[in-house]
């Protein structure tokens, strides 16, 4: 059977913070709650660790939807991580709309460690919503190559100081091959 003959099963990548939402997903499992198997959970320390690049990389590599789960406001283990997640999400959501990616394909939810039933409900709802939207089917992407930064002749002083601001944070391992068409 070829890929196109099979009924569409949404692929949903979920970024869950380890302290609340991931624990809630564990609880749902221990309590034998059944929910859609379409959600692939990735455990992060905090929803604030969800770099918008992760969301785009998930779409690039074949996700039809992306779910982000974190602690309720005020409960973040790192105090403000989830608030930052919210700020980035609100802007990212709007930008994805301009990219032609429907709003239903991204979702941010606060789920505490005790809310196994909410994991079940949110995963089911998200799966159905994305199923209704159909596959995202991005065209195969370009090969990614990341330029190594090098200080050219004479600019050594400029590069001596540490980078200021956000861009100085390493983004971690996110070398994606994309799906190459060449």
């Amino acid at each position: 059977m070829s890929e196109t003959d099979r009924p569409f099963e949404p692929r949903i990548v979920a970024f869950f913070c380890t302290w609340c939402t991931y624990t809630a997903a564990d609880l749902a499992g221990i309590s034998r709650m059944q929910y859609a198997p379409n959600v692939r959970a990735i455990r992060l320390m905090c929803s604030g660790r969800v770099d918008p690049q992760f969301v785009l990389a998930a779409f690039r590599d074949g996700a039809d939807g992306v779910l982000i789960g974190g602690c309720h406001p005020g409960d973040c283990h790192y105090q403000e991580g989830n608030v930052n997640a919210l700020r980035r999400f609100e802007l990212l959501r709007r930008m994805l709309r301009d990219f032609g990616i429907e709003e239903g394909r991204v979702r941010l939810e606060w789920i505490s460690a005790a809310e196994g039933d909410k994991v079940q409900r949110v995963c089911n709802e998200m799966t159905e919503r994305v199923r209704a939207l159909g596959p995202l089917r991005l065209e195969p992407g370009p090969r990614r190559r990341v330029g190594v930064g090098v200080v050219p002749v004479g600019a050594a002083e400029a590069a001596a100081g540490p980078a200021a601001g956000e861009a100085s944070e390493p983004v971690g391992v996110l070398e994606t091959e994309g799906r190459e068409a060449r």
Binding site: Q53, F59, N84, A158
Partner: protein
């Protein structure tokens, strides 16, 4: 000893990169002293056949600016790649797609439709569109194919080095050419610019608060910006924290926020996502509604954060849904497979 041969070429670009080479001013004479310019259509009368006549790899370097949109640009990029030991993607368009890359927000069809029929300055009616081949009494005329999508140079040919900027700053061009002539080029794949964020060389950096928060974003025409204070601290969307330095901060010095033409530092995969992240994190309110209102002031997020890098981004282009409901932004990639 014979001087190394170099070529300059332009693809989908505005001509500003060519101007930047001329901006070397008297230093351009030093360049001419050190190298033999074998091909530079903007300034010197060479033909494509002159390049074809060269042996493979005979050019020490080709500096190619502009993104790739047409079959002609693709063929020229492939030709220069074959003939050159080193290919340098010159400027934001060649490296990341640049301003012409914003066309990836529209489909090929909608662009042609607007340009040849819809635009207010076009008289419609005849519905004539340029054809790739037209027969006239004198023979057959050919135009290049207009691709489905805009690509960066390294999405079409192998690229050795990148010179960032719109256009690349004169100092960086000079040091790149010097490094080439002296055989001191760094590791392949390098971006020939410092690998730190612009804030590091911005004269306003001292006034940038460490715990910067923005209550209301403003657009440049809405305020008369204070000439000394950090522009982000004044609510202007300055992309300095997410953008590579090496330009000398001429924009912030002229009271204009950084729009990101120098592209990302080496630790960033997707410039726009990282810039979005940097700006969104500064939003002062913390409840959903107020955060939404604050970010609603950022009109055109794609154009703001991907102004120079849409084709190089993870998503590459806007997702289009055709009449049949299937997706895909055209056959830009499939064409090559």
């Amino acid at each position: 000893m014979t001087k190394p041969k170099v070529a300059f070429y332009w693809c989908a670009s505005c001509g500003g990169c060519e101007e930047a080479v001329v901006d070397l001013a008297e230093d351009v004479l030093a360049v001419v002293d050190a190298v033999d310019i074998a091909f530079w259509p903007v300034a010197l009368d060479f033909k494509v056949s002159d390049v074809e006549a060269l042996a493979d790899g005979e050019l020490a370097a080709s500096f190619v600016n502009g993104a790739i949109r047409t079959s002609e640009q693709r063929e020229m990029a492939e030709l220069l790649r074959r003939k050159s030991a080193v290919v340098v993607a010159f400027g934001a368009c060649a490296w990341l797609g640049g301003i012409p890359g914003l066309a990836n927000l529209s489909s090929r069809e909608s662009i042609l439709e607007f340009v040849y029929r819809g635009s207010p300055s076009t008289s419609d009616g005849d519905g004539v569109r340029p054809q790739e081949e037209t027969d006239v009494p004198e023979g057959r005329l050919r135009l290049p194919h207009f691709d489905e999508t805009v690509r960066t140079l390294d999405q079409v040919v192998d690229v050795d080095y990148y010179l960032p900027g719109c256009p690349p700053p004169v100092d960086l061009i000079r040091s790149a050419v010097t490094a080439l002539v002296e055989g001191r080029l760094p590791e392949k794949g390098s971006v020939l610019a410092p690998d730190v964020a612009l804030c590091a060389e911005c004269p306003r950096a001292q006034t940038k608060p460490t715990d910067l928060k923005v209550t209301q974003f403003r657009r440049p025409h809405e305020v008369i910006a204070d000439p000394e204070t950090c522009l982000l601290a004044q609510g202007l969307v300055c992309l300095g924290p997410a953008t590579r330095s090496g330009c000398g901060a001429p924009c912030t010095a002229a009271n204009m926020p950084c729009t990101g033409c120098m592209g990302p530092t080496s630790r960033v995969i997707d410039y726009g996502a990282k810039a979005l992240s940097a700006i969104a994190s500064l939003v002062a309110p913390s409840d959903e509604e107020a955060v939404g209102e604050a970010v609603d002031r950022l009109v055109d997020p794609v154009g703001t954060f991907y102004r120079y890098s849409l084709p190089a981004s993870l998503l590459h282009r806007r997702v289009e849904r055709d009449a049949a409901g299937s997706r895909g932004g055209g056959q830009g990639w499939a064409r090559r497979s």
